[in-house]
């Protein structure tokens, strides 16, 4: 009996030590698991994130279950993986929320760009209309200037014609005056010659006077 008792004592001590170590390991495992499970639960309870990343949530949940069931040798690795899976959930859920926001902002951006394009087109149309009006005004001014120039030119031509006519009239009068003077001189000479032939100078002078042609005025235009 005493031999049996002496054999049981070391066995009991080993068992007690084993139980103590097991309890300590379980406690450490539970502590790690509890910490990560709490992180996961907080994410799952976040209304802004819980609706996103369903696949990543599922993988994180599976990683936590793996950690819970892990043997001692696997615990460190599984805790590492579970912690990253939870971080992946957080990042992907936030990214998806931001991507939704980006889509909304992109729609707003499209609307603003359209408004800007319409504004620019309206400005371009207004500028075109302004230039068209300016062009029309310039064309009208040019037409008026052309008409004025035509009128001035016509007036100039008329003046030139009048001057030419006056010059021609003056030439004609001069020619007539010359002819008159020539005729007078010839009549005088004829009278003198006649008087010389007849020997009566006094009478000849009288004849010359009576035969001289009367002065005529130049025709008026």
């Amino acid at each position: 009996m005493s031999r049996l008792k002496s054999g049981i004592r070391p066995l009991a001590a080993v068992l007690a030590l084993f139980c103590a170590l097991s309890a300590a390991n379980v406690s450490a495992r539970d502590e790690n698991y509890e910490r990560l499970a709490e992180q996961f639960d907080r994410l799952a309870a976040d209304p802004a994130l819980a609706q996103h990343a369903p696949v990543q949530f599922e993988r994180a949940r599976a990683a936590l279950a793996d950690l819970k069931d892990a043997k001692r040798s696997q615990r460190e690795e599984r805790a590492y993986v579970a912690e990253r899976r939870i971080e992946i959930v957080r990042n992907i859920a936030q990214a998806e929320a931001l991507e939704e926001q980006r889509e909304s902002l992109q729609r707003e951006n499209d609307r603003l760009q359209l408004a800007q394009a319409r504004r620019d087109a309206a400005q371009a149309r207004a500028e075109l209309e302004r230039q068209r009006l300016q062009s029309q005004i310039r064309a009208e001014e040019a037409e008026r200037a052309r008409q004025d120039a035509d009128a001035a030119r016509a007036e100039g031509e008329q003046a030139t014609h009048a001057a030419e006519a006056a010059r021609a009239e003056a030439d004609q009068a001069k020619r007539m005056a010359d002819a008159q003077a020539k005729a007078t001189a010839l009549a005088k000479k004829e009278a003198e010659l006649t008087a010389a032939v007849n020997g009566d100078a006094g009478k000849a002078k009288q004849d010359a006077k009576s035969k001289a042609p009367k002065k005529s005025t130049p025709p008026k235009k």
């Binding site: 993986v81 992907i92 990214a95 931001l98 980006r102 951006n109 603003l112 800007q116």
Partner: protein, 129 residues
């Protein structure tokens, strides 16, 4: 020690060896290594090295350790490092995606504010008095 005790001890020893053999992988963890390699490639393609350098570097280091353990024929450790590398790569990808989404949203907010200001300051000709 009686004969029956000897038999029991032999049985326990055989069972322990069998159990250890059952727990230790006997082949290279090809699936885990392939998954880790793919994840690392995806992380690289997602510019994770720039957006999440710490996690990307951890993924590379764990992958190298997985390869080294495979070389030592320590397949259990190789599989473990490969799984850690995969998790690191996926976290780096997630962080890169979040950083890009942040940048895109910030850029759009800035663009929209500029457009809005421009439209307010330069109204359409029809709207002008």
């Amino acid at each position: 020690m009686t004969a029956s005790h000897k038999k029991i001890h032999a049985l326990v020893a055989v069972a322990s060896i069998a159990l250890m053999q059952g727990c230790t992988p006997t082949r290279p963890p090809a699936d885990e290594l392939d998954a880790a390699s793919r994840a690392l490639g995806n992380a690289k393609a997602a510019d994770a090295a720039a957006f999440a350098p710490i996690d990307y570097r951890a993924a590379e280091q764990h992958f190298d350790q997985a390869r080294a353990a495979e070389g030592r024929e320590d397949y259990d450790e190789s599989a473990q490092f490969a799984r850690e590398s995969t998790a690191d790569s996926e976290l780096a990808i997630a962080k890169a995606r979040l950083a890009k989404a942040h940048a895109a949203v910030d850029q759009l907010r800035q663009d929209n504010a500029t457009l809005d200001r421009d439209l307010s300051e330069h109204a359409t000709p029809e709207a002008q008095p």
